[in-house]
Amino acid sequence: MGNEPEMALRVEALEAILVEKGYVEPDALDAIIATYERDVGPRNGAHVVARSWTDPAYRERLLADATAAIAELGYGGRQGEHMVAVENSADEHHVVVCTLCSCYPWPVLGLPPTWYKSPAYRSRVVIDPRGVLADFGVTLPDTTRITVHDSTAEVRYLVVPRRPAGTTGWSEERLAAIVSRDSMIGTGLVTV
């Protein structure tokens, strides 16, 4: 897959065509790229998670109406218009997928990683989630149920991972720093 040498030329040609025909403004392309390389990424989600860990009232609002609670922190928009937050516990672990394409909560997690869009992940996580978690080095107790959220419409999911032991008294910023992207998809755990 990585070796698609022809794609560079193909995309370059398509861009040239669209710019020449006046359908695309090159500066807008740069602005889009800058947005997702600089501003919108998993640190947004980590902020949401850390706030939820430290502010019980915020946590309740997040679980009741994630779109609104996430907007409180200044995040929202494309591919995050209809958010649901699901919280991991010792009893239930949540994992998010889009088996049909690549639906993903951009405003809180940025652009999806390649593996999230791969046939390997999309095919297997709904039938063998523990096998997929093993690929990430994650093992859950058999007593932990797993709920897989297949994003088949415009609803997008943010997993609130379990707060690790040993973080009592940590600031929101310090907590946010340990919240990994994968933990907010459900393929990782947060550890200290």
């Binding site: 794609m7 039938i127 897989v148």
Partner: protein, 217 residues
């Protein structure tokens, strides 16, 4: 349409290969592919559902041997040609062969606001939802030849309504220019055993979002 993109439950794709968090793009062309796909939608000649339909309708072997941004670009080319914005002769030539037609173009200054606003899929509808949280439902066993968002693995299966999301644009209609026809949207929860049989992980549940017409009582 039962396309190869409907991957849930398929096997033989090997292990999942994790990546570090900062490795979102793997080549410069992927950045441009992302940006082009977003910007080229600005003339408004297709919907997000039409673009998903275009991606999953690539030749099946090509879909499975293309990286995801390559799928996006190949689908974008088809959408542009189908919309009459670009000629297939121009794609073949690799350059513009005639002037464009007037179209709504995304300006750089608009980008932050456009991305931060997004585009909601919920719509007001008159009829109340047919199903309530906690209710038993069964997904229909349908095999439409057009776009649908009911995965094959979850057809003809019994589940429970977990959430009601309001009425949303129906992709099955909207993908083909047949209007938004909003329908109530539900999260439906299935046991792994219902989906995959008695040897499934007993602790597994899978949830999907299902439009009202995907469901029977």
């Amino acid at each position: 349409m039962n396309t190869v993109a409907d991957l849930g439950g398929a096997m033989g794709f090997g292990p999942v290969l994790p990546e570090p968090e900062d490795e979102v793009f793997h080549a410069e062309w992927e950045r441009r592919a992302l940006a082009l796909t977003l910007a080229a939608a600005s003339p408004g000649r297709w919907t997000i559902d039409a673009s998903r339909s275009a991606r999953e309708s690539l030749p099946p072997g090509e879909y499975l041997t293309s990286s995801y941004y390559a799928i996006w670009i190949k689908a974008l080319e088809r959408l542009l040609v189908h919309a009459g914005l670009v000629g297939s002769d121009e794609l073949a030539a690799g350059r513009s062969l005639r002037p464009g037609t007037p179209a709504r173009v995304l300006a750089a200054a608009e980008v932050p606001a456009v991305l931060a606003t997004g585009s909601r899929a919920d719509r007001p509808v008159d009829p109340p939802p047919r199903f309530a949280v906690g209710e038993q439902v069964r997904t229909r066993n349908t095999h439409p030849t057009g776009h649908t968002r009911l995965p094959r693995y979850a057809r003809g299966k019994a589940g429970v309504v977990e959430r009601v999301h309001g009425a949303h644009v129906l992709p099955d209609s909207n993908a083909h220019g047949a209007g938004e026809r909003p329908e109530w949207l539900y999260t439906v929860r299935f046991t792994g055993v219902e989906l995959w049989g008695g040897e499934a992980d007993p602790g597994l549940s899978v949830e999907i979002e299902a439009f009202e017409s995907y469901l029977a009582p």
